[in-house]
């Protein structure tokens, strides 16, 4: 395996769910790359496609009702887009593991914690002596050894999330996907879990793909961030650039709304309008109906993701028109 290879690459993905009566284009055009050792964030509101993206990266899309129409998914360089469930099984846990928002629906309610961690160790670390490894893992996520004897319902939300992490780490993943891991937790617990994630990442040389609707969480934990809207990745770059020098009007709106500071009219900055339907694939920028700074091109065709500054990509005609010089199209 090449050290410089990306752990995960999702390129131009178009993913549809087909129900009995309707079709949902949950991911329409998304590109996400996670390099080795990198911490990458995906932000977006409900329905933007960020969780579908996480599931696609784990081969956990519901069979029969979901289909990848176009685009590619690469795990450590190998194209896994058309993998069968059986072949996906060989990738889950190692190299990619996932922790979800709600540990209670993941953990078995009638099996003690220690046994659930041991299961993951036996599966992914055959030959290793199980009991000491389980102790190590609990230790790693800073749970007391006595937690092994407990059942999920006896633990607090933060402790359950640590158990999830211990199970995931038992697989020795090179990429950990965390889908809203702290959303259901109190702020103080959230801070502890994020700190733990950062420590583990450094210690184990692991990449992290952190999915959250909370820009503050991504700001504190991620090197790079992708912003999603209506199934499209609309902006990406170093977290500091995306949040401080946002190029897409939606990103700006999101950052302003997250600040919760009163404006001159004594009101909070909100994004007017509602999210668009995903029942069709958008031919124009999906943010257009809510956008206050559209230009002629916006009415004409869909913008492409385009690099505006080093590593800072945006899918917006207006932003691209504003900075043509940096792209080498002559001075403004």
């Amino acid at each position: 395996m090449n050290r410089n290879e990306n752990v995960l690459e999702i390129r131009d993905l178009h993913l549809v769910y087909t129900g009995r009566q309707r079709v949902v284009h949950a991911i329409q055009d998304a590109t996400v790359v996670v390099g080795r050792g990198e911490a990458v964030g995906i932000a977006g509101e409900s329905g933007s496609g960020k969780s579908s993206l996480a599931r696609a990266a784990m081969g956990l899309l519901p069979p029969k009702v979901s289909a990848i129409v176009s685009g590619r998914i690469l795990v450590e360089g190998a194209d896994v887009t058309t993998y069968t469930q059986r072949r996906w099984q060989s990738l889950r846990g190692n190299p990619i593991a996932i922790v979800f928002q709600d540990p209670l629906s993941f953990l078995n309610p009638v099996v003690r914690i220690g046994e659930q961690v041991a299961e993951s160790v036996r599966q992914h670390d055959p030959g290793v002596s199980v009991a000491p490894r389980v102790r190590d893992l609990l230790n790693m996520v800073q749970l007391p050894e006595s937690a092994a004897q407990r059942y999920p319902h006896e633990l607090s939300g933060g402790m359950r999330q640590r158990v999830m992490m211990a199970i995931a780490l038992g697989c020795r993943p090179r990429l950990l996907i965390a889908d809203e891991p702290t959303t259901a937790l109190d702020v103080t617990t959230q801070a502890e879990i994020l700190k733990l994630l950062a420590e583990l990442r450094a210690e184990l040389d692991m990449s992290l793909l952190l999915i959250s609707h909370d820009l503050g969480v991504l700001r504190s934990s991620c090197d790079r961030t992708y912003i999603m809207y209506a199934g499209h990745t609309i902006e990406s770059g170093a977290t500091v650039d995306v949040l401080r020098c946002s190029l897409h009007p939606y990103t700006k709106g999101l950052v302003d709304a997250s600040r919760m500071v009163l404006n001159a009219q004594n009101r909070f900055s909100a994004i007017g309008g509602d999210v668009p339907t995903l029942s069709k694939r958008h031919g124009l920028c999906p943010f257009l109906p809510r956008c206050a700074c559209s230009i002629a091109e916006c009415q004409d065709r869909m913008p492409r993701l385009d690099e505006q500054a080093a590593g800072h990509m945006v899918r917006c005609w207006q932003a691209q028109a504003r900075h043509p010089a940096e792209k080498g199209h002559g001075a403004v």
Binding site: D186, V187, D214, L215, L254, R259, R267, F268
Partner: protein
């Protein structure tokens, strides 16, 4: 005299095979007319129990709840049924707070009927309520069912229903948690409007310090069933005295902190 007063409220819950769990210990909070008070704290701090006591959905072990100086705990069911219209709840999960088989119009007219049983023009009043929470054009919403609304629209409908009885106090239990940031701003702006135009007082239960800072005149910090600190919002945010309040504030992740 305060509009609403929770006085030295204590409440414990029995637990099987363990000592009773003290959810509230000697909690006192008052709200003046038109004022917004935020109760902040983490899960298990007792803030939702306090909201239920305030709405007389739960009897405290001791203490009293006063509306305009009169105890609501001692009053007859009949009298409370009249007075409760002035103290209206808004819940966290608007989808479970509405009858899924009633249209928006039917849900609102039911609430309007409680306040004015013979309201001559309930439909017009429903339209007025929908417009006041910026569900426009209001006519388009009347025949919809709750599941046909987005999360933000449903929460605004929840507020419209609370307004149907022309309340003087809204008790909002985590009305914004689980909402996306753009929706959160919409709902906060709506609450600001209500205070300015109708002078409605708000008791806001939240775990989010940013929400408290954004909206409240005063903040009450709860921890393990006790009030650990209360005061003017700016004082609490700028100079928290209690170590727990400091810990809460330090844990807030803002978009702007240095990266």
């Amino acid at each position: 005299m305060a509009l609403f007063e929770l006085m030295q409220i204590s409440k414990s819950f029995r637990q099987r095979g363990a000592a009773p769990f003290q959810a509230l210990a000697d909690v006192s909070v008052h709200i003046d007319a038109g004022e917004c008070v935020a109760i902040v704290g983490e899960s298990g701090s007792g803030k939702s129990t306090l909201a239920r006591v305030a709405l007389r959905l739960l009897d405290p072990d001791c203490g009293d709840v006063l509306l305009d100086g009169e105890s609501i705990l001692g009053m007859s069911e009949e009298k409370w049924n009249r007075l409760r219209l002035t103290v209206q709840p808004v819940f966290q999960d608007p989808s479970s707070a509405f009858n899924p088989r009633r249209t928006v119009q039917s849900s609102l007219e039911q609430a309007i009927g409680q306040c004015v049983p013979k309201e001559p023009a309930p439909r017009e009043r429903a339209l007025e309520l929908l417009s006041s929470v910026e569900l426009r054009p209001a006519e388009d919403f009347l025949q919809r069912y709750p599941h046909q609304l987005s999360g933000g629209q449903r929460q605004r409908l929840g507020i419209a229903r609370a307004l149907a009885t022309r309340p003087r106090l809204i008790v909002a239990d985590e009305p914004l948690s689980g909402a996306d940031v753009s929706i959160r701003a919409q709902v906060l702006n709506l609450l600001l409007d209500l205070r300015e135009r109708q002078n409605i007082a708000i008791l806001m239960i939240t775990h989010d310090m940013l929400v408290a800072r954004a909206l409240a005149d005063r903040v009450v910090v709860m921890h393990r069933g006790r009030v650990v600190e209360q005061g003017r919002t700016r004082d609490i945010m700028d100079a928290p005295q209690d170590p727990y309040t400091q810990r809460l504030l330090n844990a807030v992740l803002s978009v702007d902190a240095d990266i």
